[in-house]
Symmetry: C2
Subunit: 200 residues, 2 copies
DNA sequence: GTCCACAAGTGCAACTGTTCCAGTTTCTGC
DNA sequence: GCAGAAACTGGAACAGTTGCACTTGTGGAC
């Protein structure tokens, strides 16, 4: 028998079912568009009942975001396991740039992204899900800086950093957005306040 | 006949219907809770068909947020009509503090707020609606600073300022949150970076 | 003042996401 | 080997939302 160290057949089957559902969903969504596919269609294609579908995913939108836990783990890891001497903010900037590279290089991710972008319902859901990471991220930042878990400056930083991809969304040069906004976060808006001053 | 300058009977009736629906909805929600009231109940109470209800409001949640346009107008006005010599950021800070006072003093607002807070579906909807103002606010800020409509620094500032009430939500002293986060936005996170340094 | 086009409202049926319920099958730990 | 939990099923039901064919009241043109 190949691999199955500690995981029993049950768990493996469960994972397989989940995967089958997610795969069926993505395929149908990509082919016909999110709104033109019903949950019943997906369940049908994955050969399960709709009840089972909802036992694995809390909503139709969730079918598209199968990896949220891992994403959050990567995000917090980027801060927690940053190189010696690197600041938290710097680590986040690096992580943001890396994520941007992944999206442009991996065609699967790119396709997935396009689907979400073209579907208002998915865009909103994605933003909401994304912002949910603020709690975890804020906590890690606070921990790394030796502050209380719900320290305001850390929570704020977390939320603001998470806003960046949203802010970058429709713009032509996302990398520049990341750089510019991180600089603003570090130095503040005070320096370039009101009327005249340099255009970014 | 009392007042009706330029508005015809038609428009008045339409507005009345809309108000009747909103009133019925709020009353039922406050009495029984958002999820335990169906749209059909509301339509019934307002003595209209559910079709009519949805002709006036795009969704069940929208029934609770009847004033979004005005809120946005107040927000942009706070920036546009700020006192001579006051910076944009300062104007926003003042506006935030004023809004906070309104909520604590006006029992209607307070009640409304409590309803939203206690209902997850409404909280999410409220945040989404709130964040939608980012476009308009960013544009006004840009205009006031003589920058292009979609200037990045202005868009970012708009989004970050709008995040503040969300950030303040569960905390004991919202006014302090407003003050602290505005200071962070003005001076940046660079000054109090990493490890040691002063706790806010 | 009459008349017509049109906006507002109606009632009902249908669709879709989501949940409930009462089972059946399939695994796992003892 | 067995008991019980967990996964899964099928179908009905519920709630938000939309479409459709239709009535009614209003406002502007004449």
């Amino acid at each position: 028998m190949p691999d199955s160290p500690t995981v029993g057949r049950r768990e493996r089957k469960k994972a397989a079912t989940r995967q089958a559902i997610a795969d069926a969903a993505l395929e149908l969504f990509l082919e016909h568009g999110f709104e033109r596919v019903s949950v019943r269609d997906i369940a049908e294609k994955a050969d399960v009942s709709t009840t089972t579908l909802f036992a694995h995913f809390p909503s139709k939108e969730a079918l598209v975001f199968d990896r949220e836990e891992e994403v959050e783990a990567e995000l917090t890891a980027a801060v927690r396991e940053r190189p010696e001497g690197q600041s938290v903010v710097e680590a986040l900037r690096v992580h943001a740039l890396k994520a941007w590279v992944s999206i442009t290089s991996d065609p699967r991710l790119h396709q997935h992204n396009a689907l979400v972008d073209q579907t208002p319902a998915l865009r909103e859901y994605a933003e909401r899900m994304w912002m949910r990471h603020a709690g975890a991220l804020g906590a890690v930042i606070a921990e790394e800086l030796g502050r209380e878990r719900d320290d305001l400056a850390c929570s704020a930083l977390a939320r603001f950093v998470l806003e960046i991809p949203i802010l970058a969304n429709g713009r032509h040069d996302p990398r520049a957005v990341v750089e510019t906004v991180f600089d603003l976060l570090i130095h503040g808006w005070g320096s370039q306040q009101d009327s005249e001053v340099d255009r970014t």
